[in-house]
Amino acid sequence: MAFKIIASQCTQCGACEFECPSGAIKFKGETYVIDPKKCTECEGTFETQQCASVCPVSKTCVPA
């Protein structure tokens, strides 16, 4: 259970990185990526996935 970022749509704003409660998002090479091993889908911490809620581009942070 994890989220992923559609790299081609990402604006590299970094908002998801500092909202992620699990430290699962890092800037790698050209874009932000979610480490599926760390992503908890925000379960138990927040009602909605933080990355998807803050991302300015719709359907960019989506279930993997």
């Binding site: 908002a15 500092f18 909605t48 933080q50 809620s53 803050v54 581009v57």
Partner: protein, 493 residues
């Protein structure tokens, strides 16, 4: 009557001014200024001290001082219908757009590089794309690093206000004494048409609920800044049919809460920019519509009329963007701050500025003694220093002044496509210039050819180079007296 013919170009001997007369591309006083038109004597001296070197907060200062923006805070906590954060193009020049995102360390290198070369530099701003208060770690690190190296640089930020209340204490600690909040509404029902969503308290809100939260946070942020004596400018985007009438209400609210300046900016909307408004066909206001609204707002919070809506990474005098000269790849890896040029320049400005103030009050006298009830709209071609020192064909914008029994006041600038590109005069762009100058009675410039002068005349606009290199106010005073006073017309081209 004319002001002495010394120009800042001659006095300062800096790179910028050495080059500018020769190069059509250096647009002088044109890019993005934002500020009060108040003259020093109308304002309390503590406030004047704070704004006198700030091109955005003082209209007077924008003739002399330059700002630079660094884009270090790309993350944002709201979405505005006039913004498309995916857009990022080096050839595009419009507000909020930036071609180079910087880390705080890169930003420091760039600020020092610019400070060494652009002696007019007085302000470092962090504006869009993104929100400086939300993307706070980057903003704070940048300010701390720069303040350590260049002690006298003024720091300012722009914000949408949502995260602002959480940052006021730290802003005050870091001596940030200028903040701009973009406030487009005080009625959340109108807000819902401008903001599709906000991210707050770890969740996304939409509609009226989102706009209500944003509104409350904006108002409390403004009140907190006022309580700490931090000067606050309000930017409002004028969106015809959405919030144009409503901005009168906004103006009242922000005035009551201590806003220092209100800057009403036209919506820029082009389908090619891919913003919601661009795609949905929402139009921006025309220059005369903007002026009409600004005129109705007179008497509320003080209006800023000289904003150029600069790119988020603009460098230089307002109206000028030298950002492309200072991209990271053009800067040396190691830069050391050298204060000498900035210090020399400041000494020159102190002298020139006193001189211009004297010329200005003399000009005011001429307008008053003319004893006419009429008003005159004058467009000026200038590249800085408060003088008419730009060729008509080279102007990328005109500064528009109104002379009336109330005095001489700056009412705004109008951007035009340069008529004369690389020595060749473009007929099509002249039509554009004429329509942009709608409502203007007379154009003052350093030089103009016979052909464009005749074409302008057919379009109902007179132009003259008779006042070339004079101070702007001196020329307008003389012109007004000549038009409406009892004395015969002194000079026409």
């Amino acid at each position: 009557m004319s002001a002495p013919m010394i120009s800042l170009q001659g006095l300062s001997g800096t790179t910028v001014f050495d080059q500018s007369p020769a190069r059509a591309k250096s647009g002088g006083c044109a890019s993005s200024s934002c500020g009060s038109s108040a003259k020093p004597h109308e304002m309390d001296s503590a406030v004047w001290e704070k704004i006198k070197d700030h091109p955005c907060f003082s209209e007077e200062a924008h003739h002399y001082f330059a700002r630079m923006h660094v884009a270090v805070a790309p993350a944002c906590n709201i979405q505005c219908n006039y913004c498309n954060r995916k857009y990022d193009c080096a050839n595009e020049s419009r507000p909020g757009i930036v071609s180079e995102r910087l880390t705080p360390d890169q930003a420091l290198r760039k600020v020092i590089g610019v400070a060494n070369e652009v002696p007019q530099l007085s302000v470092l701003g962090i504006a869009g794309p993104g929100d400086a208060c939300y993307d706070w770690k980057n903003t704070k690190a940048t300010f701390q690093r720069v303040a350590k190296e260049i002690g006298d640089i003024k720091l300012c930020i722009s914000t949408n206000g949502l995260a602002l209340p959480d940052r006021v204490a730290e802003l005050a600690e870091m001596n940030v004494d200028h903040v701009t909040i973009t406030i487009n509404m005080v009625d959340p029902r109108i807000g819902a048409k401008i903001y599709p969503w906000i991210f707050y308290g770890n969740r996304r809100y939409t509609g009226v609920e989102a706009a209500t939260i944003l509104h409350e946070r904006q108002m409390s942020g403004l009140e907190m800044l006022t309580a700490r004596g931090i000067l606050t400018k309000i930017n409002s985007v004028m969106i015809p049919g959405v919030n144009d009438e409503h901005l009168i209400e906004v103006n009242k609210w922000v005035k009551e809460r201590g806003a220092f300046l209100h800057n009403v900016m036209p919506l820029i909307s082009d389908p090619a920019h891919g913003t919601h408004y661009g795609l949905s066909g929402q139009r921006g206001p025309k220059a005369m519509e903007l002026k009409a609204l600004q005129d109705r707002l007179e008497g509320g919070a003080k209006l800023m009329r000289h904003c150029r809506q600069c790119r988020a990474d603009a460098v230089g005098l307002l109206g000028e963007d030298r950002g492309q000269e200072f991209t990271l790849d053009r800067l040396p890896d190691k830069v050391t701050y050298d204060a000498s040029k900035r210090e020399t320049y400041r000494a020159v400005v102190a002298r020139e500025r006193g001189d211009r103030l004297a010329a200005k009050s003399e000009a005011l006298g001429m307008v008053k003694t003319a004893g006419s009830g009429k008003s005159l709209l004058v467009a000026v071609a200038t590249k800085g220093g408060g003088r008419i020192n730009e060729h008509f064909g080279h102007a990328k914008e005109f500064q528009v002044y109104e002379a009336s029994p109330k005095g001489i006041s700056f009412v705004g600038h109008r951007k035009v496509e340069q008529y004369c590109l690389g020595g060749r005069a473009e007929d099509k762009s002249l039509d554009g210039v004429i329509s942009t100058l709608e409502g203007v009675d007379i154009v003052l410039c350093a030089r103009i050819g016979n052909c464009p002068e005749d074409r302008l005349k057919e379009g109902g606009i007179r132009a003259t180079e008779a006042y070339g290199y004079d101070y702007i106010e001196t020329a307008i005073g003389a012109l007004y007296a000549a038009e409406f006073g009892s004395e015969p017309l002194a000079a026409t081209a």
